[in-house]
Amino acid sequence: MKALCWQGVNELSVEEVPDPQILNAQDVIVKVRLTTTCGSDLHLLGGYIPAMRAGDVIGHEFIGEVVAVGSEVRRHKMGDRVVVCSFISCGRCWYCENDLWSLCDNGNTNPGIGQALFGYEPGGVFGYSHAMGGFKGSHAEYVRVPFADHGAFPVPEGVDDTSALFASDSAPTGWMGAHLGGVKPGDVVAVWGCGAVGQMAARAAMLLGAERVISIDRHPERLAMTERHVGAETIDYSATDVGAELRERTGGRGPDVCIEAVGMEAHDTGVQGVYDQVKQQLRLETDRPSAVREAIYACRKGGSVFVLGVFGGTVDKFPLGAMMNKGLTVRGAQQHGQRYIPMLLERMAKGELKTSHLATHLMPLDEAPKGYDLFKNKKDGCVRAVFHPGT
């Protein structure tokens, strides 16, 4: 079959690779209908995520059709249209039972690598490095889905492929940020980043009752999209002092909840940004955390900051003093998708959650390297490039 392979830093190619097989009785094989780029892939492309091997198939946000079913699978049959959570989770360990699905104990086949990096290993993910299990990704014609009874979800009839696709990763990630960030009715919420994840976090905050949601980015087309499709207010950080603007818009208090949806390659207009970029390139600091820093300074006293952006290692100049003295709650997580996906699909069916506008560029899998160029460099208004492997 055809698949998009990571070949090295900023090097991708479509290759012929072996078809996936059922390896465990709880697996299904999914024929991919649509699969999309994610901001997390940019960190792989940039070489910031360790344990990538030339030839690894990437991609983790996808929808498809079940074409083979392992003997122990109970909830799926051939022909089912399913959206699959990007995290591979067993559904029966203590973490899964406590709705902390991305921390599953049994989904990462390379625990030694994650333990060396983080003390304890995170769960397994499709197409996201050998530290996260080394599973093949979804930018392919077919993909093996382990623990399918727990990670694959039937898509309601009224929800089209392009909408349901984002229930795999970006929508549950955004929802988790607002939910575990503790958004309550009446809150003012600020969201850094107007990519798919940030837009979904902003929408989730609204649906959870936030009175005002303020989204921050610099790309005019993303800001306009967030105003139009999500209904949030926006701030262009390249033109405005974000801290001052947030203070003014919140009666001097600061936002109650700050959600960071930018990640380790954050862009920064100031001196601090140059410092981070140089240190990251020299590998003296693995991640650039400018949006996290800004969120911690801007957040109201006693407020909450949720880090959705992916970080892989260490950062400099983390404002620990601000966090401690202002009594903040700072939390982060890889997404616990299985907790939210059925509810999100229902909201899509009811028209409460719109996602299809995120798919700005649809193209065949053969053109995926071009799709990543558009997405990475935010060319031509690209928010997400979506690939269809079928003919």
Binding site: R53, V57, C90, E97, N110, A116, E121
Partner: protein
């Protein structure tokens, strides 16, 4: 505090992240005069099942049982309804120092087998299967890829466990 930092530099190559450099430096070497337990600690996992399910009629779970009398095993109820703490320890202490590091890289460190057996027993008890990794695909051979391959081969038996 001495650390066995053997393969660290090599693996740092394989992954760009600085964290990879901790691959083999994560465990302290036994230090004469230090805590003697460092040479051969209990390796524990917590299984989300009751002690009766983990050891029905006192029988050790698969595949831990196959380690026979090379290990001693300790089982106790975990606090707060977290299941069962299942721990194993080698009866004969594993090789130390430079010899130990070589054993870890070559896959001859007996602790790797114990860790793998504990993890597999846990997964079988909780899910009824041990998840098999995807086979690596085409994979252009590269220098860093070779080092990473080694790390991947050892990953199911390594770690802080």
């Amino acid at each position: 505090m001495r650390r066995t930092a053997t393969m660290a530099a090599a693996v740092a190559l394989a992954g760009a992240g600085a964290g990879m450099a901790r691959w083999l430096s994560s465990r302290r070497a036994a230090d004469p005069g230090g805590d003697p337990r460092e040479a051969n600690r209990w390796l524990p996992v917590t299984v989300n099942r009751s002690p009766e399910e983990v050891m029905p009629e006192g029988r050790l779970p698969e595949p831990l049982v196959r380690l026979g009398d090379t290990v001693e095993v300790r089982v106790r109820k975990a606090p707060g309804g977290r299941g069962t703490e299942l721990a194993a320890r080698l009866l004969e202490p594993p090789p130390q120092g430079a010899r130990g590091a070589v054993a870890r890289i070559s896959g001859d460190d007996p602790r790797q087998e114990v860790r793998r057996a504990l993890r597999e027993a846990k997964s079988l008890l909780e899910t009824g299967e041990v998840l098999r990794p995807d086979e690596p695909s085409t994979n252009r051979p590269t220098a860093t890829g070779k080092v990473l391959d080694l790390a991947i081969r050892r990953a199911s038996g390594e770690g802080r466990l």
